[in-house]
Each structure stands twice: as structure tokens, then as C-alpha cells.
């Protein structure tokens, strides 16, 4: 039973690989054929000549990197302060964060678009990355993580004469690595696959991330072989699929950890 279910689950991926190596005639044959009559490796090369794949790939990489790095730094800092420091309005600020966590992202979309527009950042990498640089979810995740760490370490560091920044940067942050990995995995995944926001902000093919680029490829259908489109979609997913298969144990733990917090 597990075997049958597993095959059903990965069938679309196998079919995609098969199609990416097939001629148009093989793909549209009735009934469908399991083994292609010839292997069209050229489909993969055509992706780079027929579609703006490379520039979109770069946009995806840049946006994902910006968001992940910014979230790790900003959410760790704020999460640490909420977990370990005492200050006025802490309760109010936490409640504000919690409330934006509960609101579906679409509610922010129109005003966010206007802000990016008035900043002149429409159709730029920074504009696509901008709202996702900040995360209430990430802050809560890191706060929970810091809360669970023993107090003695900080007290020892303070006795050694470290100030709050040094304690955070040299002692706590290195120890928070599992939490940071968890946050990074979720941010990379969400950012790489994100559709709605970049769809709204990016309008020229060269500044779209892959998620948007592929969604608008339907316009190419007819002029570009399906096999080439399949090769493009396969290559768009490949970095995430490969990275996540290799790091599977960490990824599963990270998602479970973040989900259950």
C-alpha cells in the first residue's frame, strides 16, 4: 500500500522528467506512451535560448537570499529582545505582532503595492523582496527558541563584562542555530514558491522570479514545445527539490518545529 501511494505521489515528477526529454509528438500522442521514442536532451538547452530563464532564475535567487538573510537577522534580534529583555510596551508590541500574524496576507496587498509604487520600486528585485524582509511569524519562532535556552549562559557572559549586543551576537545567536535553520528553511521555501505578491509587483519578463515567469508561460504555448516548457519547470524546481532531499532530516524537523510552536 505504501509503495502504491508513493508511486502516485511522485508520478507527476516522473511524468515531468519523461516529458522534458520527449518530442512534441510523443507528448501529445493518444494514448499516452510511457517510454519516449527518442531522448530530446536539446529541450534543456532550448530553455536558455527560447525563454528568459536565466534572468528569472537570478531574480528568484536574489529575492530568496535577501528575504532569508534579513529575516534571520531582524527576527533573531527582535525575538531575543522579546524573550529576554524587559521594556515598556513589550506586551503591546507583542500583541501587534500577533495580530498581523492572524491577518491573511491579501489584506495588506493593495497598500503594500502603493508603498512600493511610491518608492519607485515596482518591477525591481528590492520591491519584490521588500515586505517579506520582515516577519511576525519568524519573530515568534525565534522568541520561542530563545525562551527555551538556559539563563546561566547569559549571566556568565554578563559577569565577564559583555554588553547586551555581545551576549546576543557571540553567545546566544550561535546557540540558536537550530532555530535559525528552521526559520531559513521556511523562508526559502515560501519565498522561492511565492506567486501572488511578485505577480502584482513584477511586470516585465526579465524582472520576474521563476514562479511568476512560469505562470505567464502559457502565452508561449504553441510557439515553444511542451518538452521545453517541462524542462524549464523542472529546472525551476530542481534547486529546492535537491537541497531538500539532501537536507531532508533537518527540513522535516524544521517544519515540524515551526508548525508546532
Amino acid at each position: 500500500m505504501l509503495i502504491v501511494a508513493s508511486i502516485v505521489m511522485i508520478f507527476p515528477f516522473l511524468w515531468q522528467i519523461k516529458m522534458s526529454l520527449s518530442t512534441q509528438a510523443d507528448i501529445t500522442s493518444v494514448p499516452p506512451i510511457l517510454i519516449p521514442t527518442s531522448l530530446e536532451w536539446g529541450n534543456f538547452a532550448e530553455v536558455f535560448t527560447r525563454l528568459p530563464f536565466l534572468s528569472q532564475f537570478w531574480v528568484s535567487i536574489a529575492v530568496t537570499t535577501l528575504r532569508t538573510v534579513a529575516q534571520i537577522i531582524l527576527c533573531s534580534m527582535a525575538g531575543y529582545a522579546f524573550a529576554r529583555m524587559h521594556f515598556r510596551f513589550k506586551g503591546v508590541l507583542l500583541a501587534l505582532l500577533l495580530s498581523i500574524l492572524m491577518v491573511p496576507t491579501q489584506v495588506y496587498l493593495i497598500p503594500q503595492y502603493q508603498i512600493i509604487q511610491s518608492a519607485g520600486l515596482l518591477d525591481t528585485i528590492l520591491g519584490i523582496a521588500a515586505p517579506g524582509l520582515f516577519s511576525a511569524f519568524g519573530t515568534f519562532l525565534m522568541m520561542q527558541f530563545f525562551k527555551a535556552m538556559p539563563l546561566e549562559l547569559e549571566q556568565a557572559a554578563r559577569l565577564d563584562g559583555c554588553n547586551s549586543w555581545q551576549i546576543f551576537w557571540r553567545v546566544m545567536l550561535p546557540l540558536a542555530k537550530p532555530g535559525i535553520i528552521s526559520l531559513a528553511i521556511i523562508t526559502v521555501l515560501a519565498s522561492w514558491n511565492d506567486l501572488l505578491w511578485p505577480l502584482v509587483v513584477a511586470s516585465t519578463p526579465d524582472t520576474m522570479p521563476l514562479s511568476v515567469g512560469l505562470a505567464t508561460l502559457q502565452g508561449y504555448q504553441g510557439s515553444v514545445d511542451t518538452g521545453v516548457l517541462m524542462a524549464a519547470s523542472l529546472m525551476a524546481m530542481a534547486p529546492i527539490l535537491i537541497a531538500f532531499i539532501l537536507l531532508q532530516r533537518r527540513v522535516v524537523e524544521g517544519i515540524a518545529h515551526a508548525g508546532l510552536k
Binding site: N163, L196, A215, V252
Partner: protein
């Protein structure tokens, strides 16, 4: 003690929290109040807005497209919920001690969850194709003539939901596997001595002790279900003639905000999504006492 720590922290908390909050205010808190305000206004062609009171909400209540979108979203969410019992069964099968190739199975269930929706939708479009798609070919073998999935009312929604189900099982299984690891093995050993078979153990130990995870998943499924957009856009395509009969609330929002430029009305739809998700989450938390068992 408290005073001491107050002086100790001094201005540090501001330094730690300010960078995040600068962004949160600009990109979330301010937009939230703006959206609320916009939902009471109407937008002119040149981007000017005038206060129209409850007009947008009155229009919302009388808009057949809104009701259809709510029904579509509920059907979609309902089909996604089927994924939870499926995931419970497979998570239990996968977490048996000594299972061979568990890692391989886990990868198979997990891949759809991390796949880029727009990329894998391109594959599903062909799988659903009514001329050369595999699904209709398989149905043809058993003598059923398959529908044109992508372009027929209701079938298009089911097609989207099957794909959504396929993508959600991996996440469900991750959460459930974490839940399964929390069940003490002594419980199984004790009942095994009492002569309970696997099925009985599954029913009287596994499922009740998984109810907190199942509850969490049902809340998450509702929230995710009501945010349906990516799969509609990528699998069916925004210009698909069947879209008005298949669209979700978020798609309706997107269409009003960025295609027909009715930003006031779109904002009202956004607030409606917020209210519906809030209401469902509240109801689920109310009902959980009746069926969720927490181990102390």
C-alpha cells in the same frame, strides 16, 4: 530584581526591536489600517478615493460572485480536509518501527509539498488534458469517458482540489509524525500484552493521542484553503472561461484590485476573508474541547 533588569537593559531593547518594527509598521500595520479605510471608499479612474460608507459591504452582500466564491472555497477546503485522515493512515504506516526504505517513502510523500506550485501545475495541466492526459486515458481503460477537467464547471474545481490535496499530504504527515513520536511506546506494549491487535491499537491509542495534531491540521487546512489562489492561477490560467465559476475569494480580490481597479471593493473582500477565517478559527477552538485529548 525587576528594576535592576530595567536599568540593565536600558536602550538595548530599542536597538534590537526597532529595525523589525520599522518594517512591520510600514508594510503591515499601516497597510492594515489603510485596507480597512479603503473598504469604505470608492476609487476614481485617476486614483482618487471618496468615502462611500457601507456601500462596498452592501454590494458584497448582494454579489452572487461572492457567494459562488465562498461555496467554491468551502468545497476546496472540504476536499483538502480529506487529506488529514489519509495522512493519519500513512503516517501510522510509515512510523512503524523497523520499516525498510522509510526514508524513500517519506521523500515521495514530501516532494509535492515543497514543489513550486506554478511549475508543477504545468505538469498537472497535461495530466488532466482531455486528449492526451493520463487521467482520462486511465479512465478510458475502465470504460469511462473522462471530462475536460480544466475547462468544465465543478470538474475544474475538483481538479484544483485534487492537486491541492496532493500537495498538502506531505505537510500533514510531517506534523502527524511529530505527534506520533510523542506517544509513549509503553502504551503499545501494555495493550499488546492485553491482546490488542494493530487495528485496535490504532483506534484506541494512536488516533485519540493524535487529536491535538489533527486539530492543529484542521485549523491550518481551513486557513490555507481560504487563501486558495496559486493553484487556480497556475493550473486553470487567469483567462480561463470557467474561472468565474471556479474562483476563490482571494482570486476575486485579486481580480477586483488589479484587473478591474476597484480597490475599494477589493479591500472589502479582503476584510471579508479576514472575518471568515477568524470566525472559522474561533468556532474550531470552541469545538475542540469535544474531541481533542491532551495528555497531561
Amino acid at each position: 530584581m525587576k528594576r535592576q533588569s530595567l536599568t540593565r537593559d536600558g536602550w538595548w531593547p530599542v536597538l534590537f526591536v526597532a529595525p523589525l518594527f520599522a518594517g512591520v509598521v510600514v508594510f503591515y500595520l499601516w497597510p492594515l489600517t489603510q485596507s480597512l479605510y479603503y473598504s469604505f471608499t470608492e476609487w476614481g479612474v485617476f486614483g482618487s478615493s471618496t468615502w462611500t460608507g457601507l456601500d462596498n459591504y452592501v454590494r458584497l452582500v448582494g454579489d452572487a460572485a461572492v457567494y459562488r466564491a465562498i461555496i467554491n472555497t468551502l468545497v476546496y477546503t472540504g476536499i483538502l480536509l480529506v487529506g488529514i485522515p489519509i495522512a493519519v493512515a500513512f503516517a501510522a504506516l510509515l512510523n512503524r518501527p523497523g520499516l525498510r526504505y522509510a526514508m524513500v517513502y517519506r521523500t515521495c510523500f514530501f516532494l509535492p509539498y515543497i514543489a513550486m506550485p506554478t511549475a508543477i501545475s504545468m505538469v498537472w495541466r497535461i495530466i488532466y488534458n482531455n486528449d492526451f492526459g493520463v487521467i482520462n486515458a486511465a479512465l478510458g481503460v475502465v470504460g469511462i469517458e473522462g471530462p475536460a477537467w480544466i475547462s468544465t464547471e465543478w470538474f475544474s474545481l475538483v481538479a484544483v482540489a485534487i492537486m491541492g490535496l496532493w500537495m498538502s499530504i506531505g505537510f500533514n504527515m510531517i506534523i502527524l509524525s511529530a505527534g506520533l513520536k510523542g506517544i509513549p511506546p509503553e502504551l503499545y506494549e501494555a495493550t499488546a500484552i492485553d491482546g490488542a491487535n494493530h487495528w485496535r491499537q490504532f483506534r484506541s491509542i494512536t488516533v485519540p493521542l493524535l487529536t491535538p495534531s489533527i486539530f492543529f491540521l484542521s485549523v491550518m487546512t481551513f486557513i490555507a484553503g481560504f487563501q486558495l489562489f496559486d493553484l487556480l492561477y497556475a493550473l486553470l490560467g487567469p483567462a480561463n472561461p470557467v474561472m468565474p465559476k471556479t474562483q476563490s475569494l482571494v482570486f476575486l480580490y485579486y481580480d477586483a484590485a488589479f484587473s478591474s481597479n476597484e480597490k475599494g471593493y477589493a479591500s472589502a473582500i479582503g476584510i471579508l476573508i479576514l472575518l471568515i477565517i477568524g470566525l472559522f478559527t474561533l468556532v474550531q477552538f470552541r469545538l475542540q474541547r469535544r474531541w481533542v485529548h491532551y495528555v497531561d
